[in-house]
Assembly symmetry: C2
Homo-oligomer: 192 residues x 2
DNA sequence: CGTGTGACGATGCAGCTGCATCGCCACACG
DNA sequence: CGTGTGGCGATGCAGCTGCATCGTCACACG
């Protein structure tokens, strides 16, 4: 066996370049050449590690998903001893694009979310994460004991965060306004 | 002058075909040929009425915007004598993809909304409608007199509707669940 | 009854796309 | 010290893209 290369690291490196392309030019501008250029490698290398473009997209989505979930888990551990209200707040705010890292993730999530509307396959890719998120939020809302229908409230809140993220990225409102609006709303829902 | 053709009608006809392409295949699958085929005309005709692809996209967006605003105005007139709560409810529910017409509009709105995240120009196209919507909602919320910060609440609620629409289109939740979640949430926010 | 002009179809073209196919080169193994 | 195999670059190709450029046909006007 010749050169040793960590396959996962190589693929992840390409995936990160893909994320940057999505955030900067959009999902439909993603091509083997653009990603390769962004990653500073040849187009052949990209093809070597991903047999098809779809495989590359899928892997890139998995990378952001894992990355995001890791961040959420970390954040969750931090406020483990907080109230349910603090838990749901921390979790959902963590999904808003309030710093560069979250901006990147939000861009990728928004791009795939939009494509999911016309691609049942991508919709399936996204569904699991969505369900987990809603279940977690519903659980915490139930624990807070202030809302009548935790499931419905979870659907509404996650949708709101997604919408706020989209509005921020499209510069329909500032990150600060989005965060403030969300906080204000959470006060209303959970009482003070 | 030869043949008489209503320019606006021809362009609107092409725009409607464009909407169908967006709803069925996505914004990035939009090409002169696809739109022409969907409209049942030649590619040359499309080029005849729109000098560039951008011009076509922009016009198509204006068409949905007008169409949607007309529907909102109609709906607004219907419940003119209702409570502010009914007004804001009717207005925002009207934006959820609960029938075929609104599904089409929501698909187009979602597609352009996502692209706005990477295209400042499209973001500008969208901004006006967004501002109007938020101002209207904030006004009605103020009239309802149950919320502390109507502006923040308007930002949150419009984002929520956008998010719910996206989730419905991506089949992350059913239209019924989305409507129920929104209603439930509105109860919480506006009290009972 | 020309005839010019607007509405449209057909064709061509450069550029990009995803992908298959080569060939080279370095290194771990026998 | 071969040598084969994994990592990688280069090239080619068919298909699609937006768009420019033609040709053609019908009709309202003088």
């Amino acid at each position: 066996m010749p050169k040793k290369v960590d396959p996962h690291e190589r693929r992840a490196q390409i995936a990160r370049a893909l994320h940057r392309v999505i955030a900067g030019r959009g999902l439909d501008e993603v091509s083997l050449r653009h990603v390769a250029t962004e990653a500073g490698v040849s187009a052949g290398l990209v093809q070597h590690w991903f047999r098809t473009k779809d495989e590359m997209l899928r892997f890139a989505l998995e990378v952001v998903a894992e990355q995001g979930q890791a961040r959420l888990a970390r954040r969750g551990a931090e406020i483990e001893h907080g109230t349910p209200r603090e838990a749901v707040r921390a979790l959902l705010v963590e999904l808003l694009p309030l710093d560069e890292e979250r901006r990147l993730e939000a861009h990728v999530a928004l791009a795939f979310g939009a494509r999911a509307a016309v691609s049942p396959e991508i919709a399936r890719w996204v569904r699991d994460g969505m369900d987990q998120m809603r279940a977690f939020v519903a659980d915490r809302l139930r624990a807070a004991g202030r809302v009548g229908d935790p499931e419905a409230a979870a659907v509404a809140l996650t949708a709101m965060v997604d919408g706020l993220a989209a509005h921020v990225l499209a510069e329909q409102c500032t990150p600060e306004a989005a965060e403030a609006a969300f906080d204000d709303h959470l006060d209303t829902v959970l009482g003070l």
